[in-house]
Symmetry: C2
Subunit: 218 residues, 2 copies
């Protein structure tokens, strides 16, 4: 049996398209953030809370990545924001070519911020540059404080870590200090934002961090 | 650019090794179950509850799949059961070749049941036959009732669906009827076991189902 390393050429093609996406966003003065998390960690809820906090001051669009369905895009559109749904048809992550097609249907000159909601998965999205300016991850408190030990890569590459669903902390044994120590051992510089997207607590600090990524427009 | 379908040959090799694993298990009279779920859905807790319920009557071993760490294998070993840790080193799912190496270090003639804990991921493990006799999935209630719409394949291929963490239902908006309707639309025959692995409620029905898969030994 011959072994062929198929990952490297696929990633090289992806990275070239990602660089083109990023150049296109930079030319239009748009910042793009790739939001990654497990299924059900609250990606869409965090996006809705972010829109509620920043939507009056910035022009925001959302690119929704799902294997199937358009549930999330419908939720975002109901919040009054442009949403493009990508159905990967089975693929476990977004790639830069999918994002290119989404950018093609957006009016970049009329935007300040694009939030990409990746497929729910702590592993595969970490390998694919989409052309974003920052990857950000969400861990939800019910997933447990040991996740940095089991899924180290996503914690290492994220520019910020959101700990969501802190409103239900009383129902779970989650050691916040142990979690934060594990994150800092993997990634000493990423801020950790503890928040509840549905209760609205802690969202301000996350949005202040996100806001400083958005380029000033004259 | 030439497009090559690399998935099909990889899956064909995987399926051949999976068939060999299954034949080997059948010859030894051992049943193997592949447990799949998101990160933090409670796979290890369900395994520990299963060992507590069935461990006195059946000889059980656990194969733990993780990208990194041996946290889960240590938890299982503390329950007095043989555990083999597989670290995938980045891979988002287990494959049959990894399971073969784990079977090599187990004494199959001294076992009735092997539970495989796959990498936390609702997508990638669905494509890989490991040689198991049944794939079973866990959704945890905090992940939300819309997951069958977004990750249909795992619900379709699972022989049984466990809904875990029902003890915290009061803290979440989870529509149990909508969830069960969505599961049944994708998979009319799979039983749905609502339970709390940590509280110990509902574990009996799941274990009774699992027990009927175990071959009788003379």
């Amino acid at each position: 049996m011959t072994h062929v390393d198929v990952a490297q050429p696929i990633l090289a093609v992806n990275d070239r398209l990602a660089a083109a996406n990023r150049a296109r966003l930079d030319a239009a003065g748009v910042v793009m953030v790739d939001l990654m998390a497990s299924p059900g960690a609250g990606k869409t809820s965090v996006i809705l809370a972010t829109i509620a906090a920043l939507g009056a001051r910035y022009r925001i669009a959302v690119i929704e990545g799902d294997i199937a369905s358009r549930v999330d895009a419908d939720r975002v559109k109901a919040a009054g924001v442009t949403a493009v749904q990508i159905n990967t048809g089975g693929a476990c992550h977004l790639e830069s070519a999918m994002i290119k097609r989404a950018l093609d249907v957006l009016d970049l000159d009329a935007l300040d911020l694009i939030i990409v909601e990746n497929v729910g998965n702590l592993v595969c999205p970490t390998e694919f540059d989409l052309g974003e300016h920052a990857k950000v991850m969400i861990l939800s408190l019910p997933e447990g404080d040991d996740k940095p030990l089991k899924y180290p890569n996503i914690f290492q590459i994220s520019r910020a870590v959101i700990l969501n669903k802190v409103d239900v902390a009383a129902a779970f044994n989650f050691d916040r200090a142990a979690f934060e120590d594990s994150v800092r051992a993997l990634n000493p510089t990423a801020p950790i934002f503890a928040l509840s997207a549905t209760a609205g607590t802690g969202v301000d600090a996350w949005c202040a961090w996100l806001e400083q990524l958005i380029p000033a427009h004259e």
